[in-house]
Amino acid sequence: MEEPLAIRTEKLTRIYKIREGKGRRKKKRELVALDRVNLEVQRGELFGLLGPNGAGKTTLIKILTTLLSPTSGRAWVDGLDVERDMREIRRRINMVSGGETSGYGLLTVQENLWMFAQFYGLDRWTARRRMDELLEMVGLVDRRHTKISDLSTGLRQKMNIVRGFLTDPRIIFLDEPTLGLDVGAARQVRSFIANWLKGRPDRTVLLTTHYMVEADELCDRVAIIDHGQVLACDAPARLKRSLGQEAIYHIRVSLLPSEATHGFRLIEGVRQFTPRFHDGHVHLDFILREDDVLTAVVDRISRSGARILSLEKREPTLEDVFIDMVGRGLTEEHPEE
């Protein structure tokens, strides 16, 4: 018999009905959070969903973890239908979200973990053995008797991670697991995930993120999602290679008059252009059809009176892939929010 895919969705769609306004003026509006999404995740994969805020990542995870019903379309987890076989799916999965506040502040790390293990029917010894191993892996051993109300955000999230992996799920869902963590803690969480999978080739991880580095570093394959639609799905290296001949330049300039930025898009051969203000300078990212276009760009900058502080040609990142497809960055404010 053929092993089923770890995750499969078929034209998966979720529409939220939103009530807007107050009192009598209430109006109902429909918001398409997922739009006919087709995905196939192989067993053993570390699969990433990369997309900006509001793209529909959490919605997809909620459907796959049986917390939300699809409006139409279907989804299978470990070969089981999310609407029909909920009970069985729940035995095989677990999940962790970024900024999660689960558990009870009065209990210690160990007590909280034990409590959640009970809901999965883990016996004391199995729970204890896995807890020891996982706490060690995330570096939380010396905090096992700390009340969780006394933990920092980073340590709290490490505990959440341990909670999710404690049940040794066949498929684990991680919804922006490094959200709000400092660089060091985020790196530790990422390397934990990679290490955990290393010894367990039949386990599957579905991870969402809006950090392109995370998707790039960690994931075997990445689906790029925006406005509820999957725009591309492939290995990070191949996604980046899809930019082909295009040249990516990062130019830092001193004060650029804001009206000057508008003109860049008009230059023949400029495929995408995003300005960003950071550290008192203007950072300009260009995706150019070819290197030769750079001359026109530089010419325009100097005519605007700005001074070029640095200019660098970059290797394409997943963010460039995203920008190339939708014309804005991953972390820019969502226009609807």
Binding site: R14, Y16, K17, N53, T58, K62, T65, T66, L67, L68, S69, R87, R90, R91, I93, N94, M95, S97, G98, G99, E100, T101, S102, G103, Y104, L106, L107, E111, W114, M115, F116, A117, Q118, F119, Y120, G121, L122, E176, L179
Partner: protein, 272 residues
Amino acid sequence: MRAELELWVRAVIGRAYPRIVGATREKSWLFFDTVLPLLGTAAYVFVYRAIGAPEAYIGFVVVGGAMTAFWMNVLWSMSSQLYWEKESGNLGLYIAAPAPMMAILLGMAVGGLFYTSLRATAVILVGSLLFGVHYALGDFGLLLLTFFLTMAALYGMGMLFASLYLLWGREAWHISNLLQEPVYLLSGFYFPVRHLGFWVAVAASFIPLTLGLDAMRQLLFPVEPTLGFLSVPVEVGALAGLSVLFIVAARYALEYLERLAKREGRLTERRG
């Protein structure tokens, strides 16, 4: 089958644990939760003494005062439990866990029951000593059964309320407020429910505490049999019926709630 049962039991114990530990870790609560009900009880004791009510009324009031603790626990803690679990980000994890929600909800009830029992015992002990209550306990087994069934029905109702409150959200607070005082009156915390008249007493009997209190008082103070509403066996039977009714209703309410919330996207808090 055995694995199912084991999961059930583990889930109940797992969820009861935080409440039980909470009771021992925050001891200051025990003090306040004992003193305040005692004050209310004392007020009634002095009124009854002043108007020269039969001495048995003093015992009534002390037992009633102790049992208010359970009512408060069900009304304010148990009913809003799922709502708080949602706010604090636990509900989604509870629902997505393989253990049935009924087991987790029962664990909350057991934890609350344990915690409240400590308070109720303290009220009974201190109140009895302070006001010199004389008990004339006949059938201890029947008293225990009555208490157990009262709690099953009361916390069954709490489990049902928990689902309904989650559906109604903040509006539920008003319902709790609305229910608190009338129930003090109707369920006869501080006087025999029989004085309300037969039909009002029947209506009040849907609050499990009413019959439970009445039966327990009859068992504890058999010297004044005329004060009882119905006979003890009838009341015990009715309590058993109420327990089944509330627990079954809670189960279906929970199932309905989960389905509805999944459809409307209200099962978990929206973040980010």
